[in-house]
Symmetry: C2
Subunit: 247 residues, 2 copies
DNA sequence: CGTAACCTTGAACTTCATCAAGGAAGGTGG
DNA sequence: CCACCTTCCTTGATGAAGTTCAAGGTTACG
C-alpha cells in the first residue's frame, strides 16, 4: 500500500491539543472524544495522518490486523466476497468513523478508499494500550460498534425486503445524509453531492446489477426526484420526495 | 476464603455464586463472565428468570427500554418492519446472547420468542450501575456487539448476493451450528434439530416468500441434503454437503 | 372431530438478471 | 492539443428466478 502525503507528529512538548486533532471530527464525535489532552498527546505520538487515493486498498481480506484508523475525510467502502467472486458492499464509513475490527487478529472483509480519503492511522498496540488506561475509550468504541450494528440491521431490511427502485432511493438518501459530516440530516430539505461510488459499487451495495441501478437512476431522474450532473454529481431538490421513494 | 482477581473464564467453585448462575451459559460465555462472585450476587438481587412461550412479544418496536436480558434457553427473533407491513428478520439470538440495545431509550426493532425461551431479565438501572463499576462488563458487551455486527454483515452477503437455494441452505447451516450452545460447530459432521421458526419466519429472514422457501426445502430433501421429520424436525446427514450448498 | 394455522404444489406473471451494443468521460502518449 | 484507449455508464431485447395467486394437504389443538 503506497501512501501519499504522510505527516508524522513528533514535535509536541506541551499539554496543548495536537494541531491535527483540533480540526478532526473524530476529536468531537469520534472515539478520540474519550481522551483528555494528555491522553491525546500520548496517542498522537503513535498516529500518522495518511492520505489515499480513491480505489486504494486499505485492508485486504484475511490480512493480519496491525493498525486501526479514524476516517478524517472521504468515504471508505467495506466489502465481502463469495468464493465465486460475487461481491457485497457491507458498509460505508464516513468521517469520523472508526475503521477496523477491534480484537480481531485477521480481517474478515476488505476495506477500500471509495473516494480520496484521509485517515488517522493508529497502530494496534497503541490503541490497545490506550484502551487499558481509558475505559471511556472502550465505551466510545462500544458506541461506534452499536451505531454500525444499527446501520447494518437497517440495511438488512433494504437488502431483504425492498424493490430495486426503493433500494436505489434508499442508497441516495443514505449518501445525501452522511456525505457531509458537518450537516445535520434532520434539517436537510435539499442536497447536492458527489457520489463516492461507481454504479458497480452501488449495485454491490444494493444486491443488484449495474444495469438495474442505471435504469432506476434514470427513472428517478425522469420523475424529477433527482437531477444528475456529470454522472457522479447529484442534486436532490426535495429530500422529502426522495424519502417517499424509500419504501 | 474468597478468591480475588479470578480469571473470568474459569469456573469458580464457590458456594456463594447464585444457584441460577451456576448452570447458566451467560455465566461462562456471556456477559456475566465479566463478573466476580460478589458482583454476581449483587446483580442477582435484581435479575429475574422469566420463561416465555413461543410467539410471545418480548420487546415491541418503539417501546421504551427498561430492561435487558440474557437468553438462557431457546431462540429469540429480532424483526423490523416497513410501513406497509413487509417484514425482515434481522437477527436470531441463542443462549447465551445478550438481548437489548444498550444506551438506547427506545427500541428500534421488535423481539419475539421464536421458541419457548427462558430469559434472565436485568433492569436497565441495575445493568448500568454494574457497568460503571465494572469496565470488564462493558468489555464483554463490546465483544457481544462486535459478534452481532460480524453476524449481521455475514448475513448481508446472504441477503444481497445469494440465490434462493443458497439462502435456504445458509439458513439451515446457521441453525444447525447455533441451536445447541453446548456443541462445537467445528466438530459437527451431522446434525438433527428442531427449527425454531415457521416457514414464514424463515422467508422473512431470507428476504423470500414462503412458497420459495418451501420449494427450496423440498429440493434439498429430494437431493438428500436434508431429511424432514414432522415439518419442523430436520436431519442433516452431512454438514459438509450442506455447506457446499451455501454458495 | 372439526377448525385454524401451517405447509406444499402448480400455473401465470413480474421483476430483475443477462446478454449485447453503443455512448460519454477521463487519462495518456504522440 | 488531439487521437486513442480504457473505464464507466446507459439503453434495449431476451430470459430466468422468484413472486403472486390459487388450491389442496398436513398438523396441532381444543
Amino acid at each position: 500500500m503506497r501512501e501519499i502525503g504522510v505527516t508524522t507528529r513528533k514535535d509536541i512538548h506541551n499539554s496543548e491539543i495536537p494541531v491535527l486533532c483540533k480540526s478532526c471530527e473524530a476529536r468531537h464525535r469520534g472515539i478520540c472524544g474519550a481522551l483528555d489532552s494528555d491522553q491525546l498527546i500520548e496517542l498522537a505520538k503513535h498516529t500518522r495522518q495518511v492520505k489515499q487515493h480513491s480505489g486504494a486498498e486499505l485492508v485486504a481480506d484475511s490480512e493480519e490486523v496491525n493498525s486501526y484508523a479514524n476516517v478524517m475525510q472521504g468515504v471508505v467502502k467495506l466489502t465481502k466476497m463469495l468464493s465465486d467472486g460475487r461481491q457485497q458492499v457491507i458498509g460505508l464509513q464516513f468521517a469520523p468513523d472508526f475503521l477496523g475490527r477491534p480484537f480481531a487478529t485477521e480481517s474478515k472483509m476488505s476495506a477500500e478508499a471509495a473516494s480520496d480519503v484521509s485517515l488517522c492511522k493508529i497502530p494496534r498496540k497503541a490503541l490497545e494500550a490506550m484502551m487499558k488506561e481509558s475505559p471511556e475509550l472502550e465505551h466510545r468504541l462500544l458506541m461506534q460498534t452499536l451505531k454500525e450494528l444499527d446501520e447494518a440491521r437497517d440495511w438488512m431490511v433494504t437488502l431483504g425486503r425492498k424493490t430495486a427502485a426503493e433500494k436505489v432511493a434508499s442508497f441516495l438518501y443514505l449518501i445525501a445524509t452522511h456525505i457531509d459530516p458537518s450537516l445535520d440530516p434532520d434539517e436537510m430539505t435539499s442536497a447536492k453531492f458527489d457520489l463516492p461510488l461507481t454504479r458497480v459499487d452501488i449495485a454491490d451495495f444494493l444486491g443488484l446489477t449495474v444495469e438495474t441501478v442505471s435504469r432506476q437512476l434514470t427513472k428517478l431522474r425522469k420523475d424529477d426526484v433527482i437531477q444528475i450532473e456529470h454522472n457522479r454529481t447529484f442534486i436532490v431538490p426535495s429530500m422529502e420526495r426522495l424519502e417517499l421513494r424509500c419504501g
